[in-house]
Amino acid sequence: MNRFPLYRIGGPSRLRTRAAAATVRSTRRSFEADMDLFGVLPALTELPHLAAASLASVPLATAPAIGLGITAAQLNSGAIAPEAAILIALLVCLLVDLAGEEAAVRWVPPICYAGLGTALVLLARQWNAPLEPSFLGSFLADDLAVAFRAVVAASTLLSLMISWRYVERSGSPVGEYAAILLAATLGAMFLCGSTDLVSIFVSLETLSVSSYLLSGYMKRDARSGEAALKYLLVGSAAAAVFLYGASLLYGLTGGSTGLDAVGVALQTSATPVTALALVFVLATVAFKIAAVPFHQWTPDVYEGSPTPVVAFLSVGSKAAGFALALRLLVGCFDSFDTQWKLLFTVLAVLSMTLGNVVALAQTTMKRMLAYSSIGQAGFVMIGLVCGTEDGYAAMVLYMAAYLFMNLGAFACIILFSLRTGSDRISDYAGLYQKDPLITLGLSLCLLSLGGIPPMLGFFGKIYLFFAGWADHQYLLVVVGLITSVVSIYYYISVIKMMVVKEPQEASDVVKAYPPITWNLAGMGTLRTALVACVLVTAVGGVLSNPLFTWANGAVTGTPMLQQSIASSAAREATAIAAAPVPPTPAILG
């Protein structure tokens, strides 16, 4: 039964057989040992309050398993098997790292691939599996969670593949880098499936703290330090705000932290306290997905962080943020959907406009992609605001498409900066002559981000706009259409640099371009990841039907979303029945 030795104390026999006093002793010991370390993390220090306060007052009845003993079957711990695989890989990476840097350089990559690959396989096996909550309601591996966790795991896999050479070239330790990135993945994946405020907070913090560490990983570089500090300060503030909101929600439920209890409590309360909780929770989500006006950290952090980390942050972290948004807003705040949809409409319009317009003025690739990722998040928010089956499916689909096209673009940028030490857009001038692979790959990925057919991004974007239009979100779709024209302009200007410039107009770094070699360790995987991403981006569009089926399956296989769709349909039906004239667009005629 006990398939996971890591969960040593969750085993079947312990709680049942030992005396209560022994349990308490061991609990307190480990708790105190942990608490000593809490002091290191300012953002985390709020945690014991919430947990302890909630625990102290929960009546025994809400935790039926207590005192009866819990078996692994009750925990349904198989649901977190993919995370367990990653955790094992993480620990093995740390152990291997003890043997020295040479061993780490050699062995850490295959260990990471094995862990993430196993995780992806296990996730595939969870797809459409019979659904039951695990860890007594802390975690739920529904199809939505599986889809987003797969996006996160795949983004980590690709980010790692493109980062080995970068990390080694900068002289940073590889083992710890991989371990921290895997921990961030772990946090993001748990965040996708958490159904409990405490679990959400802890996984959010795991993701955030690892992200802070990663963005400051180039520790001798002032920009990296600045990025980490900014990220830490803003991120801690966001975490504190979330905690405040969560405590209000906890207060409303009167003693439970489960999201379903929160949802039930919110259905009956319409006081200002819920509005406040909504705003606080929404601010955290918006911070995580970098929606305007919670985006200020993005450009600086993207510019100062190591580029592979940016790749992960822009895809994996963002996917987790959207999963969190779905869980909290659709799952809990369903009875307030007009309110949060209005707020998200504003956020989406601002994100699309500002992200895409400011990206026009950027001179470095990383900053440009930072602003472009803000704009892209705005596009995805259209699907969230729709709240229809197509809307959610379009979100999932676009995140999957974004995974490949954005990571493909980052792979090209990393390759270029490894060869030239630059990421200025003007330095790309005339690149087609020296490096056709980067030129072709980056062009295709940027065109896909701009939504040019027949790339994958075109289909994703069309689906988002289609879903938005079908749900009468005309403002969002019109803004989306206009800003995607703007985005074409700045994506195209990079392509213009690379493809159109003649050899005599080439930049200095391109003129002094080193001969293309792939024999260094880490370059082969970089090339593999690059080619894979570009291939999927270019060909995936034409062959996108399976992807559409997958995205639709993720929505139909998720009871939470189905419930929300059904209830909003019912609301609409009653509204139409109540209103004398149906508010359909046909009335225009």
Binding site: I9, L15, T23, V24, T27, R28, F31, E32, D34, M35, D36, L37, G39, V40, T45, P48, A52, A53, A56, A63, G67, I70, L87, V105, F135, L136, G137, S138, F139, E168, S170, G171, P173, E176, A179, A183, G187, F190, S199, V202, V209, L213, K219, D221, R223, G251, T271, P272, V273, L276, G304, T307, S417, G421, S426, M497, E505, S507, D508, L520
Partner: protein, 209 residues
């Protein structure tokens, strides 16, 4: 009003006043050492509030963690970085203060309104006194098992991250090629484009955007 509830009220008032005044002092006093010590007082009064709520374990944890660890750390940091530094004058400081004060006041009023309009479920669940510690332990190993275990990953990662960031040994060279490395971003800082003497031609300048 029984004597017990009166005592409780007096204790609550005393603790609250200490808390509010202490917090204001932390924020407003210019000397950072005073702020740090006042923070210690604030933490202690919070622990007192927990005691009033019958949550002795949390109170103990509060004292141990915040007063014992966090605050001591802060004091150490202040003492180690005891460097007088003249900060640059902030332009329009009065206006800024006024604005931030306004925002805070607004937030306070909002919270006040929320507090007064919400039908709180008072009194809450009955405290179970000494049993709370056992209850916490039971919860941590049952329905909060997942976050509890995940917290250990989080702490492990923070520890490793802190070590990585703080340790001094730097690889002087790339392990594979033997080139010199500097643990900085691969994308090097370069002078702004317009000042760059190596810029080949004015046409390249126009193409930057």
């Amino acid at each position: 009003m029984t004597i017990a509830s009166l005592t409780q009220l007096i204790c609550f008032a005393a603790l609250s006043i200490t808390l509010v005044v202490g917090s204001l002092g932390v924020v407003l006093l210019p000397n950072i050492v005073y702020s740090a010590f006042l923070l210690c007082g604030v933490f202690l009064s919070v622990a007192g509030l927990y005691l009033l709520l019958n949550a002795s374990f949390v109170a103990a944890a509060q004292v141990l963690v915040y007063v014992g660890a966090v605050n001591v750390l802060i004091l150490f940091a202040i003492m180690l970085v005891n460097k007088k530094e003249d900060l640059a004058e902030i332009p329009r400081l009065a206006l800024r203060r006024l604005l931030s004060g306004g925002v805070c006041l607004g937030l306070f009023l909002l919270l006040l309104r929320v507090d007064l309009t919400t039908p709180w479920a008072v009194p809450g669940p009955v405290g179970i006194g000494e049993g709370a510690t056992i209850r916490i332990g039971e919860h941590l190993f049952s329905d909060y098992l997942l976050p509890f275990e995940l917290a250990s990953v989080l702490l492990l990662m923070s520890m490793i991250g802190a070590i990585v960031l703080a340790r001094r040994d730097v690889f002087g060279s790339d392990l594979i090629t033997g080139e010199d490395v500097d643990q900085g971003l691969i994308e090097k800082v370069r002078p702004p484009l317009l000042l760059d003497p190596t810029t080949p031609s004015p046409s390249a300048l126009q193409e930057t955007i």
